[in-house]
Amino acid sequence: MSQYVLRRLLIAIPSLLGISVVLFVVLALAPGDPFSELATNPNVPPEVQAALRAKFGLDDPIHLRYLHWLNAMLHGDWGFSFVSRMNVDTLILQRLPATLYVIGSAQILALLIAIPVGVYAATKPYSLFDQIANTLAFVGFSLPTFFTGILFILIFSVTLDWLPFVYTTDIKATGIHWVLEMIRQAIMPVAVLGLFQAASMTRFVRSAMLDVIRLDYVTTARAKGLGQATVIVKHVMRNAMIPVVTLIALQMPAVFGGAIVTEQIFRIPGIGSLLISSILSNDTPVVMAVTFVFACLVVLFNLIADVLYGWLDPRISLR
């Protein structure tokens, strides 16, 4: 087992290196530079732009810049933002709490809806409950988040005036009021993201359950006289959850990555909005760091999913 994990980690090194090369080259070849906004300002002489490019090493050849970046990364230096003139890791750490809170809550909400609804719908396929759940799921994942987000704002903020639609990180209250305010401002983004995720996940859980529920060992368990709840939870769910775990594990990087569109709509200062604003201002070190973190997380969670398989299904041996 530990050997397996070690081997997988070693295999991850060349793939991460490959990913970093691709990311770096693509970003280096992308048009535009971080000091473009200065170009329209007649008061800024072109020499300043040239000096800034030289100062941040933008005029060096690509391979030198890559080696420089790799060396710094190995020493734990994530780079220096051109636009904010601060270390990239500080910038990312500043944004992480909001992303973890909002997107994490959305994922939990999605699971809390998807698993019970999916399981219950599968135990009574084609019943009225199943039909309604299916219909809502289809509606849910057909509506994009930028649409539901704006719809929620129009209903709950503009018309009803119940909830704020600008997410603030410095709530003035303390104690219980602070907690309540944090929850209040997160309701809309969490609902928008959570319901969207829940919709597709419900369908997935339902079909995974249906695959298992018809198998002979389930009939055997019922024949032994076990109760419906025990059969479903202990026998069916445990097996049906294997593909669901894969799905969730692969979605975990997205939790860290944030949801770009939703963060933009509700002004949540998360990683997703950092990424998009960095892309728009050509702040390559930040874009590079964020995308590289995603790549690492994807590799890591793939490994975690594989290890979890072994725990969920002892028949799968990891060698």
């Binding site: 048009p31 971080p34 473009s36 170009a39 300002n41 500043q94 639609f165 933009q264 909005s273 201002s281």
Partner: protein, 596 residues
């Protein structure tokens, strides 16, 4: 002629026979900005009066929180590294200049105690030096006294090339010296009619010597104060999250009486202009929204029964179409739009003239800019009352057609005019931006009716405005026949603007397209006028030269102004913000208050 007229006008203002406002109005009519007109008066011996104050609160603080929404939040808080106005806006909450500009272009004192003039002896009559007296007793937020040393240091910091300060153009040709602890003298190499540039306005705020002294030049990026400013301003720094939030709290030792009114200030970033307008005008979650570039229809709808309104500030921003004087389709020595070529169509002045008749500015205003735009014939535009009546514009497909007919451009079989085998086909490029694409469509339609075929092209703004040498789509390379954008008038003086188009500043491959004359227009008379203006001792004659230069551009149809754009902001109904078209939004923040 103008010179004499100006002198007699200044004399009239001195004797009180002519109203100051009337003078500024006359000056603006010949293309000078209000702040410049005020400075010419000062040089003519009429002291500049400080703009009136509308500030009502009678005690400091008690105003609660001021919530500002900047849909592009500041990403750094050192004004001399600002990559855009958003960073200057954020820095200005904490740092201060010597003086700032009010909505009428009058100077308002901030850290200075007196407006320099020839009468009080602070302004040299030859325009070669200006002395600033500082307010006594001003303290930095950390308690250290603010002195002339800080101003001298700020200058040294900026002119160090290794610092790569974006404000260097203002400072590299001046010398700043300390006279005593509360007096500095700025010496100019040349007579400088626009003497109130260095250390004036939000881009030119003063930084503390005791915190930046160790971080000058190549170490500038390591300064911890870059991210946690210590200034002299009305608000003390509390917190900064780049792109997301800037927070400040009332400075109890602020040097202006009864100010500031608000106890805390918060500048939230992120999102887009439409939802920012909604958060201020419709739901009232925020007090003030910056740069609300939203279609007028949407704003009018939000304003109905809303909690806020839009406010407009008149400045000098003009959206224009530039004509390429070189051939973008022929490559000479690996360079398109080379100076060795001539534009095949625009070398005929009739074509340029006809094109200027085909820009339907009224429709552009009605369909796109609404209250945020004004039609204009001028490249330089001032406040409404002051807009020039000398130049005129017209939209007439018939006249354009006639001019083209007379010049021998006859419609071919496909309806497109041609002459000597050259077809009137134009490539029209601009950056991707809703209003710009709509303007393109309006222009294209009119041109089609006059037998000119226009192909539209739009480029992502980050590419269009970049200095990327490898990219063919930048505005500086100008690989198109006409292009449209706006150059913000970053200082209320035309000299920087006009210098761009000297024939020595042509953008070519040789200078990596860093030359500022992108239309590649060469006119000896223009060069002579600008050179004369820059070496002119007499500010009035200098003005005359600039006006002549301006007229030359107009006659040659180098630029076709499309719209004079106003600043659009959103504010809560009870907020009393002071927004000047000549300054950053936060430049007068110390005077903002809320009507109870």
């Amino acid at each position: 002629m103008l010179d004499k007229e100006l002198r007699s006008m200044i004399g009239q203002v001195k004797d009180g026979r002519m109203d100051r406002r009337a003078f500024i109005k006359r000056m603006a009519a010949v293309g000078l900005t209000a702040p410049l007109a005020n400075q010419i008066l000062a040089l003519g011996g009429v002291a500049m009066a400080e703009g009136p104050s509308t500030y009502k609160p009678t005690k400091r603080g008690g105003g609660g929180a001021l919530k500002l929404l900047w849909w592009q939040g500041p990403t750094l808080l050192n004004p001399h590294f600002a990559t855009g106005t958003k960073d200057q806006d954020g820095s200005r909450l904490f740092y201060e200049p010597l003086a700032c500009w009010d909505p009428d272009g009058n100077m308002k004192l901030v850290l200075a105690s007196e407006i320099p003039s020839i009468q009080n002896g602070l302004l040299a009559a030859d325009g070669k030096s200006v002395t600033w007296k500082l307010k006594p007793g001003v303290k930095w937020h950390d308690g250290k006294p603010f002195t002339a040393d800080d101003i001298v240091f700020t200058w040294e910091y900026i002119i160090d090339p290794a610092t790569a300060a974006i404000t260097v153009a203002t400072y590299r040709d001046i010398t700043v010296e300390k006279v005593d602890d509360l007096t500095v003298r700025i010496t100019f190499k040349k007579p400088t009619p626009f003497w109130a540039d260095a250390f004036v306005g939000a881009p030119n705020t003063i930084i503390p010597k005791h915190l930046f002294a160790d971080y000058k030049g190549s170490k500038s990026r390591e300064a911890p104060t870059n991210l946690s400013p210590v200034g002299t301003g009305p608000y003390k720094f509390v917190e900064f999250k780049p792109g997301d939030l800037v927070r400040g709290q009332l400075n109890p030792d602020y040097h202006m009486p009864n100010r500031p009114y608000f106890d805390t200030v918060e500048m939230k970033g992120g999102g887009d202009a439409v939802s920012a307008a909604r958060a201020v005008i419709q739901t009232g979650e925020y007090d003030f929204g910056w740069n609300i570039q939203v279609e007028d229809d949407v704003l009018l709808r939000l304003e109905k029964g809303g909690k806020g309104k839009t406010i407009y500030a008149v400045g000098g921003d003009t959206e224009f179409i530039a004509l390429n004087f070189t051939d973008p389709n022929t490559e000479v020595d690996g360079e398109k739009s080379s100076m060795k070529t001539k534009h095949p169509l625009f070398s005929d002045p009739a074509v340029r003239k006809a094109l200027s008749l085909l820009i339907d500015r009224e429709s552009v205003k009605k369909a796109i800019y609404g209250r945020a735009g004004r039609t204009t014939a001028n490249f330089l535009n001032g406040p409404e009352k002051f807009v020039s009546k000398n130049t005129s514009w017209e939209f007439s497909i018939e006249k354009a057609s006639k001019i083209l007919d007379d010049a021998g451009w006859k419609p071919g079989a496909d309806g497109i005019r041609e002459k000597d085998g050259k077809k009137l086909k134009l490539l029209y490029q601009t950056s991707i931006n809703g209003p710009r694409q709509k303007t393109q469509a309006i222009v294209k339609q009119a041109c089609q009716k006059a037998g000119i075929d226009v192909e539209l092209k739009s480029v992502v703004a980050s590419v269009f405005f970049s200095s990327d040498v490898a990219n063919p789509d930048t505005y500086a390379k100008f690989y198109a026949d006409i292009e449209m954008f706006q150059i913000p008038l970053s200082q209320p003086d035309p000299s920087q603007h006009m210098r761009r188009f000297l024939s020595t500043n042509v953008a070519t491959k040789e200078n990596k397209w860093q030359g500022t004359n992108f239309p590649r227009w060469i006119n000896k008379d223009y060069d002579a006028a600008i050179e004369a203006a820059e070496s002119e001792m007499d500010p009035l004659k200098r003005a005359e030269h600039y006006i002549k230069a301006n007229d030359l551009m107009y006659q040659d149809t180098v630029f076709i102004p499309v719209q004079h754009r106003l600043k659009v902001e959103a504010a809560a109904n009870n907020l009393r913000p002071i927004i000047s078209g000549w300054a950053n939004e936060t430049d007068n923040l110390h005077d903002w208050y809320r009507e109870e």
